[in-house]
């Protein structure tokens, strides 16, 4: 039996094949446990359970208040188990225990509570203006789609799971989630909470396994009504193709290469911290990381010095130690990707002004090759590969600019448009720049501040649709227009006027 089983139809089960895969602690590369490895058949089994729960079960028929109460219960249980979830998340993903404790778990509970509130407060019906001829009474019913699948990445496994299941369930859908193979544990643990909260069987299902089989099934199966995905742009494109077979709507939150603009009137002390936090939080393994710092030329040298000085003060080490600011990257392959891009930067730009190697002096037992120092390349041209491609690692490109127009042009010169920042003294000037940025979120004098009530998503090749906010709830419902003609005689209908009184 696997240490971490699939959660299907209200029960924990092994994969039909009996196969498992080993999940490891990326800091030590030691195994954490065996995870049931779902294949296409397991995915189909989970989808069938969700289908049955939607078509025959009570969930979609419950009132919004009743569904909201269940989601609030899930949030309450998550908070009651916060330490256990935070530890598991940090151990499995390499994210620090600080991140897990103060972002992942409370952010997940917060998302569940927000969507509980949406279920309670957003109207299920809305009266529309009628018409004089033909007379009509009109309203819209907002209804769930049915079975919604969610495929989530390795960087925020629990949080992303709740961003998917929260709105889906709140709106009356049923859900099948697939976390990333590197980081499956906490999403699978949500099944325990679903059992304790007494969610009807099949309403929430969680499977782990290869995207090439289980993931394909979640995106293409004809019993699935909607697909939501967070991850790479190329997989998003693939999901659109797979989902097109039965015209499933998709929500995609994809890549980014966000710009953080530092104006000449910014408080440099705060702005430097915003750039470091915006780039190096979770080793840059964050979709909206501000990995291009656009710095006004008049403050450029001073600002780069500040960044270099402070980047070297971040504590790299055991992700389970509350003193660590940065842990390992999620895997050796991810660390190798970072090394490849730093080599590329060295060839294209020159030596980084800091970082550019693995840290020294890590504690015994930690695998040095899986850690990487915060790395800053200065004097980068925006056309460089390290400024255009998303590295998903702790690598910052500093790019000088002279005018606000130039900063906007550089920021928008990307295939992506997910996040971005403006660090400024004059907030009105920053807002004027924000209005011109082709990106889904702009933080002024801040970064990474994502909250359940505020929409999040991308422009351009960063995605389709929005998560969180009211938009992130409504995207899980479809509108049905009901038109009633109250007439009792032949005069009240268009049929006769449009065709003939003889019909």
């Amino acid at each position: 039996m696997a240490d971490y089983q699939l959660f299907i139809d209200g029960e924990y089960v092994d994969a039909a094949s009996g196969e498992t895969f080993t999940t490891t602690d990326p800091a030590t590369e030691q195994p954490i446990g065996e995870v049931a490895k779902a294949d296409r058949a397991d995915a189909a089994r989970a989808i069938a359970a969700a289908r049955k729960a939607f078509d025959e079960g009570p969930w979609p028929k419950l009132s919004g208040a009743e569904r909201g109460a269940k989601l609030n219960k899930l949030a309450e249980l998550l908070e009651a188990n916060a330490e256990r979830f935070a530890e598991a998340e940090a151990r499995d993903s390499g994210g620090t225990i600080k991140k897990a404790t103060f972002a992942d778990v409370p952010g997940s509970a917060g998302a569940l509570r927000w969507f509980a509130r949406m279920a309670e407060e957003r109207p299920n019906e809305q009266v529309l203006e009628g018409s004089p001829f033909p007379p009509s009474e009109n309203y819209v019913r907002y209804e769930p789609y049915g079975v919604c699948t969610g495929i989530v990445p390795f960087n925020f496994p629990l949080l992303m799971a709740c961003w998917k299941l929260g709105p889906a369930l709140a709106a009356g859908n049923t859900s099948v989630l697939k976390p990333a193979s590197y980081t499956s544990i906490t999403a699978l643990m949500l099944g325990e909470l679903a059992q304790e909260a007494d969610l009807p069987p099949g309403v929430l299902n969680v499977i782990a396994g290869p995207g090439g089989t289980a993931g394909e099934e979640l995106a293409s199966n004809e019993m699935v009504d909607k697909v939501a995905f967070t991850g790479s742009t190329e997989v998003g494109r693939r999901i659109m193709q797979l989902a097109s077979g039965t015209i499933k709507p998709v929500t995609l939150e994809l890549g980014g290469k966000s710009a953080n603009i530092i104006l000449d009137d910014a408080d440099l002390d705060i702005a430097a911290a915003a750039v470091l936090f915006g780039t190096f939080f979770h080793n840059g393994q964050v979709c909206e990381s501000g990995t291009r710092a656009l710095v006004h030329k008049s403050i450029y040298d001073e600002f780069v010095s500040l960044l270099v000085d402070r980047a070297g003060k971040m504590v790299i080490g055991n992700q389970l130690d509350f003193n660590s600011d940065l842990g390992p990257l999620v895997s050796r392959a991810q660390a190798d990707t970072v090394r490849r891009y730093v080599a590329l930067g060295r060839e294209e730009i020159g030596e980084p002004v800091c970082g550019g190697s693995e840290p020294e002096g890590l504690a015994d037992g930690l695998v040095t090759e899986n850690f990487y120092r915060p790395t800053i390349f200065a004097g980068v041209d925006n056309s460089a590969r390290i400024a255009q491609e998303e590295i998903f690692g702790p690598v910052l490109c500093v790019i000088p600019f002279e005018t606000d127009d130039e900063a906007v042009a550089i920021a928008n010169d990307s295939i992506y448009g997910l996040g971005g920042g403006v660090q400024a003294g004059d907030v009105e000037r920053a807002k004027a720049i924000a209005a011109r940025l082709q990106t889904g979120t702009v933080w002024i004098n801040d970064y990474h501040m994502i909250s359940p009530e505020r929409p999040f998503g991308g422009y351009k090749q960063s995605g389709i649709g929005r998560e969180l906010g009211t938009a992130g709830y409504e995207i899980y419902r479809q509108a049905k227009h009901i038109h009633t003609n109250p007439s009792t005689g032949r005069d009240g209908y268009m049929h006769f006027a449009a065709l003939s009184g003889n019909i």
Binding site: P153, S232, E234, R237, L242
Partner: protein, 144 residues
């Protein structure tokens, strides 16, 4: 841009060709948790801005204009194999491996031919414990 493949990558593509009935395509994609990476798909429809940049085991490798512009020469990156159950919808993940892109595309002559990622470890599970306490400045943090 010209993309080549290591012998191991060619073996993986060949194995998947025996497992999938449809037409296989390698597409070089970008973004988010996989960075720029190769994706092996069955019956994939390349986008309008994509063009062939190589071939492995009779399977065409495609890349978008955006990447071809970034890697204009012939000494492009190459496909290799990581022995990890990485995340992707790339079909070779069913083998427990993942195609990866290695080499800078500028001067890769000194780099190893094969990816250095080793096979996952086996043995008893090790659950390391948390060290220390939450910093007081974060204890007042409230995420809604």
């Amino acid at each position: 841009m010209r993309i080549t493949a290591s012998a191991r990558a060619a073996e993986v593509v060949a194995e998947m060709a025996t497992r999938r009935a449809g037409t296989l395509t390698v597409t070089i994609g970008t973004g988010c948790c996989e960075s720029t990476a190769p994706f092996l798909y069955e019956d994939f429809l390349p986008g309008a801005d994509m063009a062939p940049v190589g071939e492995v085991e009779d399977v065409a490798i495609w890349a978008p204009e955006y990447l071809r512009r970034l890697y204009p020469g012939d000494q492009g990156p190459r496909l290799e194999v990581a022995d990890e159950l990485a995340e992707s919808l790339s079909v070779e993940t069913e083998l427990g491996v993942r195609l990866v892109l290695r080499g800078t595309g500028l001067d890769s002559t000194g780099e190893p031919e094969e990816c250095a990622v080793s096979a996952p470890p086996s043995g008893p599970a090790v659950q390391r414990s948390v060290v220390g306490r939450p910093p007081p400045e974060l204890q007042g943090l409230r995420l809604r």
